[in-house]
């Protein structure tokens, strides 16, 4: 324990040194992934936009896979397990049950990441059989080396164990406090993990049942649509898996650093329950253009998706209300004048607020993605990366970085190396992402494809609605460069903080909510009820589509000619009538155009 604790509150490190070590390790791992992911990101950005190309286009998918996996699997999820370990231990006010078990799941996650990254990097070595150029969306027909799927499986098991660790702590706490409500941070962590366990059903079946044995050569055929559907069963809720720790920071930390208190604890619980119920039965909205799923199922997925706006809107209200309360506590007045009283000098506050602002923009573009008909306009275009760079790339990533500025000193007993650099860093991220995602959204509206190494737009006439493709490429490259600089500033600032002198009294207690758990119905804490409802909704949303996919295409392969059936009669007719009549010539022309 530090000697000068009297001068300030004890930190998390002072109170739970073993757990602080685990949290530091998890957050440190996430920052290594962020740094490496950012390097792959800028290589990809500069190559795609033709600003600077030093590799052959055949390596583009290797770079893209490394960027995607490191950012949205390693960076986000390592941060999640770190911040939730902190939140559970802090809010239950007790150490974890068995720190060796805790280190075991952390070790599993590290081992899984390394196993998955090795085959990805193997893609750069021409003589190596290791390859996993399958992108983050690793469903069939793209096939990776078995090591990639094995690594992801080990990583996933590590996350399950992390959840089990938090549940063990909660059950032990509950024995000692049978009449207490679940503390909010623990409630959020447990609900997130329940959602994760349900979502994992899809990816576990996809990887263990199909992708891994397929890559091992145990069978040759695979039902691509089935693996895609199972992937998106997990692939959409994983978005909320990234987002929910950011929500936890917005609900429990942001009000405190605003100078006030959370507006409503019950609303926070309702929001997380809604995420548990609604995150999973919506994945088919990623498959609007998949021909093997009926439009009716897609319409149901769209309806479910639109319901997901509700928890986000509730959050916007609650968080802004909490900030306003904080500002008025600091002396802010007037209809909007209170905004000036907020602590804008604090990088933790400013970063989280800018992240929330960008999330609003990402929510609007998300509604376009979710709309069954308007999605056709933007599907598989650069619009989609523009959208998720606002959500996971800013709402999540920027909140995590801003939250680190607040939490890291309490995990290390070291003061932040530079607050001005930290403030400049979060603002730089905001500007860089605004430029990059703006260019992506606009180029997507023009129809520019995503997942493409060199979309040149040369050698044919193309008139943009405004501006030019070259201009948007340049804007994208500038935005990506600013984001890379911002990432470097963050990593260096945290590294220098970790090397600084130890001080004491850096603890920052969290304020109590204005409306606490005593104001919420006890049924909100009935985890069994909510998980049963969530499972029922998943069964309702997925049973018929999956049955239809399997009935039509079989478990291991579609068994049908992949050429659309409508073309074959046309081609046959064209062959018979070619050269004989105008109809024949027309049919020949159509048959030549269609695949």
């Amino acid at each position: 324990m530090s000697e000068q604790l009297e001068s300030g509150a004890p930190t998390f490190l002072d109170r739970f040194p073993q757990e602080a070590k685990v949290v530091r390790a998890a957050l440190g791992s996430s920052f290594v992934a962020l740094f490496l992911g950012a390097l792959f990101g800028i290589v990809q950005t500069l190559h795609r936009t033709d600003v600077f190309r030093f590799m052959d286009a055949e390596y583009y998918y290797t770079v893209l896979t490394a960027h995607g996996v490191l950012m949205v699997v390693s960076f986000t999820i390592f941060f999640l397990v770190g911040i939730y370990t902190w939140g559970v231990v802090r809010s239950l006010d007790r150490p974890l049950e068995n720190i060796r078990f805790t280190w075991a799941w952390y070790g599993m996650m590290v081992a899984g990441t390394l196993l998955a990254v090795v085959p990805i990097l193997g893609g750069f070595v021409d003589t190596s059989e290791l390859s996993a150029d399958v992108l983050f969306t690793f469903y069939a027909p793209k096939q990776a080396h078995p090591l990639f799927y094995g690594g992801l499986s080990v990583f996933l098991i590590g996350t399950w164990m992390a959840g089990a660790d938090w549940f063990r702590s909660y059950f032990a706490w509950k024995q000692e406090n049978p009449d207490e409500r679940i503390p909010l941070q623990t409630f959020m962590a447990l609900i997130t993990m329940l959602m994760w366990y349900i979502a994992s059903i899809g990816i576990t079946i996809a990887v263990v049942g199909f992708l891994l044995p397929w890559s091992l050569g145990l069978f040759n055929d695979i039902n691509a649509l089935l693996t895609r559907t199972l992937f998106w069963f997990w692939g959409h809720p994983v978005v909320y898996f990234w987002l929910m720790p950011a929500y936890m920071l917005w609900y429990t930390v942001l009000p405190t650093i605003s100078g006030g208190r959370l507006f409503s604890d019950p609303l926070g619980r309702v929001v997380f329950i809604l995420f548990l119920m609604l995150s999973t039965p919506v994945g088919i909205h990623h498959q609007y253009l998949d021909p093997g799923i009926s439009e009716g199922f897609k319409a149901i997925a769209m309806t479910n998706t639109m319901f997901l706006l509700l928890p986000s809107l509730l959050t916007a209200f609650t968080v802004v209300a909490s900030m306003e309360h904080g500002a008025r506590q600091r002396g802010g007045t007037g209809l909007f004048g209170w905004l000036r009283a907020l602590p804008w000098r604090d990088p933790a506050f400013t970063g989280m607020t800018l992240a929330g602002l960008m999330f609003a923009a990402g929510g609007f573009s998300g509604m376009v993605n979710a709309g069954l008909n308007i999605n056709y306009l933007v599907h598989n275009t650069l619009w989609v990366p523009g959208h998720f760079h606002l959500t996971v790339g800013t709402a999540v990533a920027l909140t995590f970085m801003a939250g680190t500025y607040w939490l890291w000193p309490q995990l290390t007993n070291r003061e932040l190396y530079s607050r001005p650099i930290a403030l400049a860093q979060v603002i730089l991220w905001f500007v860089g992402m605004a430029l990059m995602s703006n260019a992506m959204h606009v180029a997507g509206l023009f129809g520019m494809p995503r997942r493409t190494a060199e979309p040149q737009y040369e050698g044919f006439d193309f008139t943009a609605t405004f501006g030019s493709i070259a201009e948007f490429d340049l804007q994208l490259a500038i935005g990506g460069t600013l984001l890379t600089i911002s990432t470097l500033l963050f990593v260096v600032n945290i590294a220098l903080t970790s090397a600084g002198p130890k001080v004491s009294g850096l603890g920052k207690p969290l304020s109590e909510p204005l409306s606490g758990p005593e104001d919420s119905p006890e049924i909100l804490d009935n985890l069994k009820l909510w998980i049963v409802i969530a499972l029922v909704l998943v069964v309702l949303a997925y049973t018929l589509p999956l049955a239809s996919i399997i009935e039509r295409g079989g478990v291991f392969g579609p068994g049908v000619d992949p050429v659309p059936m409508v073309v074959e009669p046309l081609v046959a007719y064209a062959e018979a009538a070619a050269g004989e009549s105008a109809v024949g010539r027309l049919a020949t022309a159509i048959g030549g155009v269609l695949p």
Binding site: G331, G332, R340, A341, W344, F430, A434, N438, F466
Partner: protein
């Protein structure tokens, strides 16, 4: 009298820049107005810099500074 902090100027300038730049896309996509990228970009930067200087020198104010707190 200057009543805006350097942090506020930095943040405000960034947000102002983003808003004005995004307006260009809105004009282009929704109204079909094709503004010149270099001229628009330069004008945006100049405007933002002037606002930042104005705030720094106290030429632009937002009411009674006594409303502010620490």
């Amino acid at each position: 009298m200057k009543d805006t902090s350097q942090a506020g100027i930095l943040l405000g300038s960034a947000v102002l820049f983003v808003i004005i730049w995004e307006i260009r896309s809105a004009l282009g996509v929704m109204a079909g107005i094709d503004t010149h990228p270099v001229i628009y970009g330069a004008a945006t930067l100049i405007f933002v810099i002037l606002v930042a200087i104005g705030l720094n020198l106290g030429l632009i104010s937002f009411g009674d500074s006594s409303e502010k707190t620490s």
